[in-house]
C-alpha cells in the first residue's frame, strides 16, 4: 500500500524515491533500467521533497516508469506530448503556485520526434522542465520499428535492409532552441547520475539524451554491444558529453513575474461603462422618425483608411443615445491591403438578426470599397430609398433617388473620408442627438471643425 501523503516520506532515511520491491518491467539488459535507477540516485542526491517532484512520462517502454516511483507525483500522458503537459504544469507552478516543483519528463526517441515541437517550445520558453530522452534508436514497445533517431544502416522491423535516413541530432535542435543545459550521455556512463542531478537542479529547461540499446530488437539484428554506442554517435557527428551549460537567460517565471506579477491587481470588469449621464436619451426621437425598424448602414473603403474605427465611433455615439448597435467588419485576410468594410445596425430595440436586409445608407469612400460592394452583391439589396453617399472620384451609376456625390477624400483626407461620410449621413438624417458623434470626434482628433478642409455639409441642401 503506497503512502497517500508525500509529506510523510522521510527521504533522508528512505534513500529512494522508488517503489519498494517493485520489479523492473524491462527486458534483461535494457538501458531503461539503468536510466531509471540513475534518475532515482540523482533525485536522492538533490534530496528534493517528494511533493516537489513530478514525473511526466510519455508512451513507450520508458513510460512504464510511473509505478516504479511511488514517492513522487506521476503523470502518464499521450504519445510525444509529455513535454507539453510538463510545460503547463511547470508554468502554472512557477508563475502561479508553489514555485518549488521540479517537473521531469521521461520520453523515448519515438516520443521525442512526434513531440519535437513541444521540446523546442519548452526550451524557447526556458520553463523549469527537465527532459530525459531514453534513446534506443527505435520503437521498442510496438515491435522495433525504426525511428528518427535510428543510425544509418540500422536494421529494424521496418528497415530490414538497413536504415537509409540519417538520425536527428536532437541536442543540436535543443541548442538551436536556446536551451542552456544540454547533454548527450550513454546509459552506462559513470557520471550519468551527476549529469541528471545537475539537469534537474538547473533553473530552466534542460535536456539529457541518453543513448542505450534495446536488447530485444537492436542487439541481435545489428550485432551491437553497449560499448559501440559512443562510436555510433560520433559516426553521425553527434557529440557526446555536456554540450552546453550556461545561465544567460533567466527561467521563464522570473521574467514573467518581474514584468507582470510584482504589482497590485486592481482590475475591475465592471467599470468604464459608456457614460449616458449627460446625454438626453433620444430613443423616442429615433422611434418617431424610423418606427421600430433598424437602420442598416454600410461603410466601404480601403484598408488602412480607418473605415472600421470610424464605424465604431458611429456605434458608440448611437449607444450613447440609448440605442442598440451591432458592427461587423470585413476585410481581406491580408488585413492591410484591399477593401475594408463595416456593417452597422442601429435600432431602438435589441438587435436579434444581425444581417443586412435593406440598407438604410451606404457610404463609399474608395474604389476598393465600391468593388467589394459589387462583388458581395450589396447593390441588389438597396431600395429606392437607400441613401448613397460616395466620394466624387467614384464612377457611380444612378441607383436610388438619394445619391450624394461628395468630395470626401479631398475635404477630409483619405483616412477621415469615412468619418466625413458618416457625419454627413447623421446631419442629413438626424437619427439621434448627433452632438455625441461630434464630441467623440473632438475627443479623438482634438477638433471637429478640422475634420473638413472644405465644408461638405453645404451639400445637405
Amino acid at each position: 500500500m503506497m503512502e497517500k501523503l508525500l509529506t510523510k516520506i522521510d527521504i533522508q532515511n528512505e534513500c529512494t524515491y522508488m517503489t519498494k520491491g517493485a520489479q523492473m518491467p524491462f527486458c534483461k539488459g535494457c538501458g531503461h533500467t539503468h536510466i531509471l535507477r540513475k534518475l532515482d540516485e540523482a533525485l536522492f542526491r538533490i534530496k528534493l521533497n517528494p511533493e516537489d517532484i513530478c514525473l511526466v512520462t510519455d508512451i513507450g517502454c520508458i513510460g512504464l516508469a510511473d509505478y516504479l516511483f511511488d514517492k513522487v507525483h506521476t503523470v502518464h500522458t499521450t504519445h510525444g506530448r509529455s513535454t507539453a503537459f510538463a510545460t503547463g504544469i511547470a508554468l502554472a507552478d512557477k508563475v502561479l503556485a508553489s514555485k518549488k516543483l521540479k517537473t521531469i519528463v521521461l520520453i523515448g526517441d519515438g516520443g521525442a520526434m512526434i513531440g519535437l515541437l513541444h521540446i523546442v517550445n519548452a526550451a524557447l520558453l526556458n520553463t523549469d522542465v527537465t527532459v530525459l530522452v531514453a534513446d534506443n534508436f527505435l520503437f521498442g514497445m510496438t515491435g522495433g520499428q525504426q525511428s528518427a533517431f535510428s543510425p544509418i544502416n540500422f536494421v529494424t522491423q521496418t528497415s530490414p535492409f538497413g536504415n537509409i535516413i540519417p538520425p536527428l541530432d536532437l541536442c543540436k535542435v535543443a541548442i538551436s532552441s536556446k536551451a542552456q543545459f544540454v547533454a548527450r550521455k550513454i546509459s552506462t556512463d559513470k557520471d550519468l547520475v551527476d549529469v541528471i542531478a545537475e539537469a534537474i537542479s538547473f533553473e530552466g529547461f534542460s535536456l539529457v539524451e541518453i543513448l542505450e540499446l534495446c536488447t530485444e530488437y537492436a542487439v541481435e539484428k545489428n550485432k551491437l554491444k553497449g560499448t559501440d554506442l559512443p562510436e555510433i554517435a560520433l559516426e553521425h557527428g553527434h557529440q557526446l558529453g555536456l554540450l552546453i551549460n550556461e545561465k544567460l537567460r533567466p527561467e521563464f517565471s522570473k521574467i514573467y513575474s518581474e514584468k507582470f506579477m510584482d504589482k497590485p491587481f486592481e482590475f475591475n470588469l465592471f467599470s468604464q461603462f459608456l457614460s449616458t449621464e449627460n446625454v438626453n436619451l433620444d430613443q423616442d426621437k429615433f422611434q418617431s422618425k424610423f418606427g421600430e425598424s433598424q437602420l442598416e448602414i454600410i461603410i466601404a473603403g480601403s484598408a488602412g483608411e480607418k473605415v472600421q474605427s470610424s464605424a465604431a465611433l458611429l456605434c458608440q455615439s448611437a449607444a450613447l443615445n440609448g440605442l442598440f448597435t451591432t458592427q461587423k467588419n470585413d476585410n481581406p485576410v491580408t488585413q492591410g491591403s484591399g477593401f475594408s468594410l463595416s456593417e452597422v445596425i442601429i435600432s431602438p430595440q435589441e438587435i436579434f438578426y444581425t444581417g443586412v436586409d435593406k440598407p438604410f445608407a451606404i457610404i463609399i469612400v474608395s474604389n476598393d470599397g465600391l468593388n467589394e460592394l459589387r462583388s458581395q452583391n450589396y447593390f441588389e439589396k438597396i431600395t429606392s430609398d437607400t441613401i448613397l453617399i460616395f466620394d466624387e472620384s467614384l464612377n457611380m451609376p444612378v441607383l436610388t433617388s438619394k445619391m450624394y456625390k461628395l468630395p470626401l477624400r479631398k475635404s477630409c483626407g483619405p483616412d477621415k473620408a469615412a468619418l466625413g461620410g458618416i457625419d454627413f449621413l447623421l446631419n442629413l438624417t438626424q437619427p439621434f442627438q448627433i452632438e455625441t458623434f461630434k464630441n467623440l470626434i473632438q475627443k479623438r482628433f482634438g477638433s471637429y471643425e478640422n475634420l473638413y478642409k472644405e465644408d461638405i455639409l453645404k451639400y445637405l441642401n
Binding site: M2, G88, A92, F267, Q283, F352
Partner: protein
C-alpha cells in the same frame, strides 16, 4: 426609459468570453491564433496579467490544450480557444483531460468547414464534431450562447460545471457571435455565482477513504488533489483504477470508465439551459441555438405582428441532450422546426427520435446566417 441605468459597453462575443473567464477565476490561458477565435486569445493576453494570471502563446493547438491540462492539474483554472481546424488537433488531448478528470474549458468558435473552409464565414457545422470527439462516445458538456452577454454567462457556467464535474466542457460559439461588436448590457453579471473544484483535505476524517478517481455513486465526484501538493497524484491517460493505477480487465477499472459517463448523465438535468417562448395558440415549435437562435427571436418578433402563432425553444446546453425538456415541451406541438446553419441538420438528426408522430422540418443552410424569411417560409 431605462437606458440611463443600463451598464453598457460595446463588446463582441470573443471579448465577453475572455471577460467571463476572468470573472470565473480563470488564471491560465494558452492560445494559438485562428480566425474567428483569435479575439479570445488577445483578450486573455490583455486581461490575465492584470489579475495575476498567465496567458501564454503556444506553438500549436496541441501544445495549447496540453499546457492548459498541465496547469489545471497543478490546480489552476484554465481555458483555451480555437476554431474547427485547431479543434481537430486538440481531440487527443481533450480525451486525456476527460479520462484524467481534469477541469478545463475549451472554446470552439465555429467557422465554415471542412478543412480550412472559410475563416471569416460563420457556421454551425461543429455540433457533431465537438461532441463526438471521444473514443467510446463519452459526453462532453457543450454550451452555446446566442449573444455576447450570454457568452459571459455561459463561460462562467462552463467553468462552474467543469470544476464541479472535473471534466472538460466545451463552449461553442461562431464567427457571427464572436466577431460582431454590439451594445452589451452588463447589469447583474456581477452577481453570477462562481464555483470551484473541491480539494481533498488530508486532515479530513474521510481522507483514508478518498481516492483521486473514487466515487460512491454515479453523481459522486472525487475531490481534487493537485500535482505539486502534499497528496500523491497518479494520473494516466490509460484505463486506471480509482487510485489512478494503470489496469486492464479489472472490474474497478471498468467501473471508473463507466463513471466518466455516468457522472455527466446523472447531472444532466442541472446542466440544462434554455429560453422558451410559448405561444399558447401555436402548434409549431421552432428549436434553435447559437446565432440561429437570434434569427428565431426576430421571427417571433415579426410573427407577433403578423398574427402568426409560433413558439420557440432556444437551447443553450446542447449536450448532454436535454431529452426530458424536449419531450415535455414538444408535447404541445405537432410541428417541430429545427433551424441550424449546417448542411444537413446535425442536431436535428440527433434529437428527432424524440418527436415521434410529429412533423419534423429542418431549416438548413451553409455560407451565411439563416434569415428570418427562410424560417418564416416554413411556418
Amino acid at each position: 426609459m431605462q437606458t440611463s441605468q443600463r451598464k453598457i459597453k460595446l463588446r463582441n462575443g470573443n471579448q465577453m468570453i475572455a471577460e467571463g473567464a476572468i470573472y470565473a477565476g480563470c488564471k491560465f490561458f494558452a492560445g494559438y491564433p485562428i480566425t474567428p477565435a483569435s479575439g479570445i486569445y488577445k483578450g486573455m493576453i490583455d486581461l490575465l496579467p492584470q489579475v495575476g494570471g498567465l496567458a501564454i502563446p503556444s506553438p500549436d493547438e496541441i501544445s495549447a490544450i496540453a499546457y492548459c491540462v498541465g496547469a489545471s492539474m497543478r490546480g489552476i483554472k484554465s481555458m483555451t480557444a480555437t476554431s474547427g481546424p485547431g479543434w481537430s488537433l486538440m481531440i487527443e488531448t481533450v480525451q486525456y483531460a476527460l479520462i484524467t478528470e481534469t477541469p478545463l474549458v475549451i472554446v470552439v468558435v465555429q467557422r465554415l468547414g471542412p478543412a480550412t473552409g472559410g475563416a471569416t464565414q460563420g457556421a454551425q457545422g461543429d455540433i457533431l464534431f465537438t461532441e463526438f470527439a471521444t473514443s467510446g462516445g463519452y459526453t462532453i458538456p457543450v454550451l452555446y450562447p446566442t449573444n455576447p452577454r450570454e457568452c459571459f454567462e455561459l463561460t462562467v457556467k462552463a467553468f462552474n460545471w467543469s470544476e464541479k464535474l472535473r471534466t472538460p466542457v466545451i463552449l461553442l460559439s461562431d464567427k457571427e457571435i464572436g466577431m460582431t461588436t454590439e451594445t452589451v448590457d452588463y447589469s447583474d453579471l456581477e452577481n453570477l455565482i462562481v464555483e470551484n473544484r473541491e480539494y481533498i483535505d488530508p486532515e479530513n476524517s474521510n481522507f483514508e477513504d478518498w481516492k483521486m478517481y473514487g466515487f460512491k455513486d454515479a453523481k459522486d465526484i472525487a475531490k481534487f488533489a493537485p500535482v505539486g501538493g502534499k497528496i500523491k497524484v497518479t494520473a494516466t491517460g490509460s484505463a486506471h483504477n480509482m487510485d489512478g493505477e494503470l489496469k486492464k480487465n479489472d472490474p474497478e477499472t471498468i467501473s471508473v470508465l463507466k463513471h466518466l459517463e455516468d457522472k455527466i448523465q446523472s447531472h444532466k438535468d442541472e446542466l440544462i439551459d434554455y429560453e422558451y417562448f410559448e405561444n399558447p395558440n401555436s402548434n409549431t415549435l421552432i428549436i434553435s441555438f447559437g446565432i440561429t437562435g437570434r434569427t428565431v427571436r426576430e421571427v417571433i418578433r415579426r410573427t407577433k405582428k403578423m398574427n402568426k402563432n409560433v413558439s420557440s425553444l432556444i437551447i443553450r446546453s446542447l449536450f448532454p441532450i436535454p431529452e426530458n425538456l424536449f419531450k415535455t415541451i414538444s408535447d404541445k406541438y405537432n410541428r417541430i422546426i429545427i433551424a441550424e446553419e449546417n448542411l444537413n441538420g446535425q442536431y436535428r438528426r440527433l434529437i428527432q427520435y424524440l418527436f415521434n408522430n410529429k412533423e419534423v422540418i429542418g431549416v438548413n443552410k451553409i455560407g451565411g446566417m439563416i434569415t428570418p424569411q427562410e424560417i418564416l417560409e416554413k411556418i
